[in-house]
C-alpha cells in the first residue's frame, strides 16, 4: 500500500460496487465494457445507479481538494484491499486497533470511510458533511509541519 505521502494527509474511501461481475467464478463468461448494457438495459442497473449517484460527490471532492486528500473508490468485494486501506489510515491517524476493527466490521456495501472512521453507510453524505470532517487540508498540513519543526 502506498504511504500517504504528506504526513496528516486525509484519506477518503468511497465504497461502492462497480458495475461488473467479480464473483471469482473466473474469467469464463465474464463480459465487461460494452457488454454491460444491451438494448439500453444495464446488466447491473442498481449498481449503475449507485455509481452515478456517487459521481457528483467524487467530483466535488476532487474539485475542492485536488490531491490534498487521497481518494479511493473501492469495490466492497475487494475486501482485502479495503482492510489494508482502513488499517493503514487508522495507523496514520492514530486510531486504536479496536476502532479500526470497529470500522472494518461496520463497512457497508455503500458508504464512506474518512481517515479510518466510517462516516456514512447506505447513503452518500452531503458534501458539507465531508467538508466538516476533512476541514481545510492546507491548514492541517501547516499545523503538522509546525509541530515537526
Amino acid at each position: 500500500m502506498p504511504n500517504t505521502g504528506v504526513k496528516g494527509r486525509s484519506s477518503v474511501i468511497l465504497i461502492r460496487e462497480w458495475e461488473r461481475q467479480m464473483s471469482a467464478s473466473g474469467c469464463c463468461g465474464r463480459l465487461e465494457g460494452d457488454f454491460l448494457q444491451r438494448r439500453g438495459e444495464r446488466c447491473f442497473p442498481e449498481r449503475r445507479a449507485v455509481m452515478e449517484a456517487m459521481g457528483p460527490l467524487y467530483r466535488n471532492l476532487r474539485s475542492r481538494y485536488g490531491n490534498e486528500v487521497e481518494i479511493h473508490v473501492v469495490d466492497p468485494r475487494n475486501l482485502f484491499t479495503i482492510f489494508a486501506l482502513i488499517l493503514r489510515d487508522a495507523r496514520a491517524h492514530s486510531l486504536s486497533i479496536w476502532k479500526a476493527l470497529r470500522t472494518l466490521f461496520r463497512i457497508p456495501v455503500t458508504g464512506v470511510v474518512v481517515n479510518g472512521r466510517l462516516l456514512t453507510r447506505g447513503r452518500w453524505p452531503e458534501f458539507s458533511e465531508l467538508k466538516e470532517v476533512l476541514g481545510d487540508p492546507r491548514t492541517k498540513r501547516e499545523e503538522v509541519s509546525g509541530g515537526l519543526a
Binding site: S23, A24, G26, C28, E32, F35, R38, G55, R77
Partner: protein, 556 residues
C-alpha cells in the same frame, strides 16, 4: 518428486517472468509512459473513469479474472503427463497471457478506454468486429453447456456436494436481502453465510443426495443438466441484487479460503507427484498432445476473456500508464497460480501411479474427479481434514463458481437473443420469457448433443470451448500486433503468440472435426465447422490487416 518442487519452480517462473519479460515488454514495446494522461484522468467523472491506486486496481482486476475456471483445463490435460501441462501453464502465462492481458489494457488506455471490441473495429476493421461478436456468442453458448455438464458430473460423482450447492441459494438470497434491502454491514452476513455453507458441507457428507439412475428416459447426469438450466433460467430472471450479487461475496471468500488452505496443505504435506512426467501409455481415445494441449488449457495459460476484462473496465481506472505492467501482468500470474494448484492436486494427491491411472482412463473423463479426490487427499495429509469433507469442499468450490457463471451467461445470452429480436423485427423474442427459453434451449441442445441422452462424456466440448477462447485471445493479439505495427514498433512479441494460437486452433479444429465425424457426433461436427470457418476468417482478416498496416508504414 515432491509437489513442492512444482510449486516453487512454477511460482519462480512467474516471478522471473514478471521481473524480466514484463519489464522488457513494458519498456521497449509498449513504452509505458508515466507522463501520459490516462483516460481515467482525461475523462475523470467519478462514475466509470476513476484514477485508482494500482494495488486497489489489481485487487479489482484479480478478483474479476481469477477463479476456478483454470481448474478444468489442467485437470484434463495432465492425462498427457504433468510436464506438458506445467510447461504450458508457466510459459503460457509469461509469454502469452502476460502480453495479451497487459497489451489489451495498454491498447485500451491509449485509445480513450475503448473496449477490445471497439478497438477491433477501429484498428482492424468492421468485419473483424462482426467476427469478434460471433466468437463471443459461441463462447457464451459453450460456457453454459460445459459448466452445466461439469456441475452435473460433480453431483453424480460426489453426492455430498448436492445439499451445500443448493443450500447456498438460500444463503445468497438471505445475504442479498440483508445487504441491499436492510443495509446490514458487509462482513457479518458474508462470514456467517460462508460458515453456514461450510456447515452444510458436513450435512451433505452425512446425507449425500443422488437422483435416480434413470427417469423420463434420462440418466442422472442428464437430469441434473436439465435441473441446472432450469435454475439458471430462473436465476437469470431475478434481480441481480437478490442472488447473483450476493454470490459474489460468498464466492470471493470461498476462493481465498479454498486456495489458502490448499497451498498450506501442500506446504505441510509435501505430497509426491505420482503421475508420470510424460504419459507413455495414454488411453487409445486420447488425441495427440499437440495441438490439443494448447486448447485444453486456456484459462490458466492464456484466455481471451481476460482481454474483455482488461479493456472493459480496468482500463478506465488506470491512474498511471506504468501501472499497466503491475495490473496486467500480475493479474495473469494469479490465474496461472490457480492452474498450478490444479496440476498439483491432479498429480500428487494419489498414493500410487495405479490410483492415478484409474482416473485417467479416457480423455476428459477423469479431470474433475481427479482434482477433487486428489485435492481432498492433500488436504487430509496436510491439514488432517477428513478426506470426504475435503473432497466435498473442493467439489462445492468448483460447483459454486460454475453455477454463478451459468447465471451470468444465460442472462447475457438472453440479452443477445432479445437484441436479435429487435434487429430482425421478431417481437416475440424481445420479451424476457421466450428469449430466456431460446437461450437455455440452445445451451441444452449443445449439452445433450455433446453427451447424448445419458448426459455422459459431455466434456468432449471442453477443447472446443478452449479453442474458441484461444481464438478470442488470438483476435486480441492480432489487434495489438496491428496497433504496434501502425506505430512502427516491433510487433513480433504479440504476432508470434497470435500465429501460434491461430495455428494450434486451426489444427485442433481439424483434428477434432475428423474425430467427431468418425464417431457420428454430427452436432459437434457442425459446431466445429462453424468455429473452423470463424478461425479461417480470423486468419484472412489478419493477413489483410497486416498488409494494410505495412502498406501504410511503407507510405509513411
Amino acid at each position: 518428486m515432491s509437489a513442492l518442487v512444482l510449486m516453487v519452480v512454477g511460482l519462480g517462473a512467474f516471478t522471473t517472468g514478471y521481473l524480466l519479460y514484463s519489464r522488457f515488454i513494458s519498456e521497449h514495446i509498449f513504452r509505458l509512459d508515466s507522463e501520459f494522461r490516462t483516460p481515467a484522468h482525461v475523462q475523470e467523472d467519478g462514475v466509470d473513469f476513476v484514477p485508482t491506486n494500482r494495488w486497489v486496481l489489481w485487487g479489482h482486476h484479480f478478483t474479476s479474472v481469477a477463479g476456478a475456471a483454470p481448474i478444468v483445463g489442467p485437470a484434463i490435460a495432465v492425462i498427457w503427463g504433468w510436464l506438458p501441462a506445467f510447461l504450458w501453464v508457466t510459459l503460457g502465462t509469461v509469454f502469452f497471457a502476460g502480453i495479451h492481458d497487459a497489451g489489451a489494457l495498454w491498447a485500451s488506455v491509449r485509445n480513450e478506454g475503448k473496449s477490445i471490441g471497439a478497438l477491433t473495429e477501429s484498428v482492424v476493421g468492421q468485419r473483424a468486429r462482426s467476427l469478434f461478436m460471433i466468437v463471443i456468442f459461441l463462447l457464451l453458448l459453450m460456457v453454459n453447456a460445459v459448466f452445466a455438464i461439469i456441475i452435473a458430473g460433480l453431483f453424480v460423482d460426489f453426492p455430498s456436494s448436492v445439499i451445500p450447492a443448493w443450500f447456498v441459494i438460500a444463503v445468497a438470497i438471505t445475504i442479498g436481502y440483508l445487504l441491499y434491502r436492510r443495509g446490514v454491514a458487509l462482513l457479518w452476513p458474508s462470514i456467517i453465510g460462508v460458515t453456514l455453507l461450510y456447515a452444510s458441507m458436513v450435512v451433505g457428507n452425512t446425507i449425500p443426495l443422488s437422483l435416480p439412475e434413470s427417469m423420463f428416459g434420462l440418466g442422472a447426469p442428464a437430469l441434473w443438466v436439465v435441473l441446472l438450466f432450469t435454475y439458471a433460467a430462473i436465476a437469470s430472471l431475478l434481480p441481480v441484487w437478490l442472488l447473483l450479487q450476493p454470490r459474489d461475496y460468498i464466492n470471493g471468500l470461498q476462493l481465498f479460503i479454498g486456495l489458502g488452505i490448499f497451498f498450506l496443505a501442500v506446504l505441510i504435506a509435501r505430497p509426491e507427484v505420482v503421475a508420470p512426467m510424460i504419459n507413455s501409455s495414454v488411453p487409445e481415445d486420447v488425441p495427440s498432445l499437440i495441438p490439443l494441449l494448447f486448447v485444453t488449457i486456456a484459462c490458466g495459460a492464456c484466455s481471451g476473456f481476460h482481454g474483455l476484462v482488461s479493456s472493459g473496465t480496468t482500463s478506465k481506472q488506470v491512474d498511471n500508464e506504468k501501472d499497466v505492467r503491475f495490473v496486467g501482468f500480475l493479474g495473469t500470474v494469479g490465474e496461472g497460480a490457480l492452474a498450478l494448484a490444479a496440476i498439483i492436486a491432479c498429480t500428487a494427491g494419489f498414493a500410487t501411479l495405479g490410483d492415478w491411472e484409474g482416473y485417467y482412463t479416457a480423455f476428459a473423463s477423469g479431470g474433475l474427479p481427479a482434482f477433487v479426490q486428489g485435492g481432498g487427499g492433500i488436504l487430509a495429509a496436510g491439514l488432517g481434514l477428513p478426506v470426504a469433507l475435503g473432497e466435498t469442499l473442493l467439489a462445492v468450490m468448483a460447483i459454486l463458481f460454475a453455477a454463478t457463471t451459468m447465471d451470468t451467461g444465460v442472462r447475457l445470452q438472453r440479452y443477445i437473443v432479445q437484441e436479435a429480436g429487435t434487429i430482425y423485427n421478431i417481437p416475440a423474442l424481445t420479451g424476457k420469457g421466450l428469449s430466456t427459453i431460446v437461450a437455455v434451449g440452445c445451451c441444452l441442445a449443445l449439452a445433450f448433443g455433446a453427451g447424448g441422452g445419458g448426459g455422459t462424456g459431455g466434456l468432449v466440448i471442453w477443447p472446443l470451448f478452449g479453442t474458441t477462447n484461444q481464438l478470442l485471445a488470438a483476435l486480441t493479439l492480432l489487434v495489438l500486433s496491428v496497433f504496434l505495427l501502425k506505430q512502427s514498433r516491433p510487433s513480433r512479441y504479440t504476432f508470434i503468440p497470435f500465429l501460434f494460437l491461430l495455428t494450434m486452433t486451426l489444427w485442433a479444429l481439424g483434428l477434432q472435426l475428423k474425430g467427431f465425424y468418425d464417431n457420428g457426433q454430427f452436432f459437434l461436427a457442425a459446431l466445429d465447422i462453424v468455429i473452423l470457418v470463424t478461425a479461417i476468417w480470423v486468419a484472412l482478416e489478419s493477413f489483410s490487416a497486416f498488409q494494410k498496416a505495412r502498406t501504410g508504414e511503407s507510405s509513411a
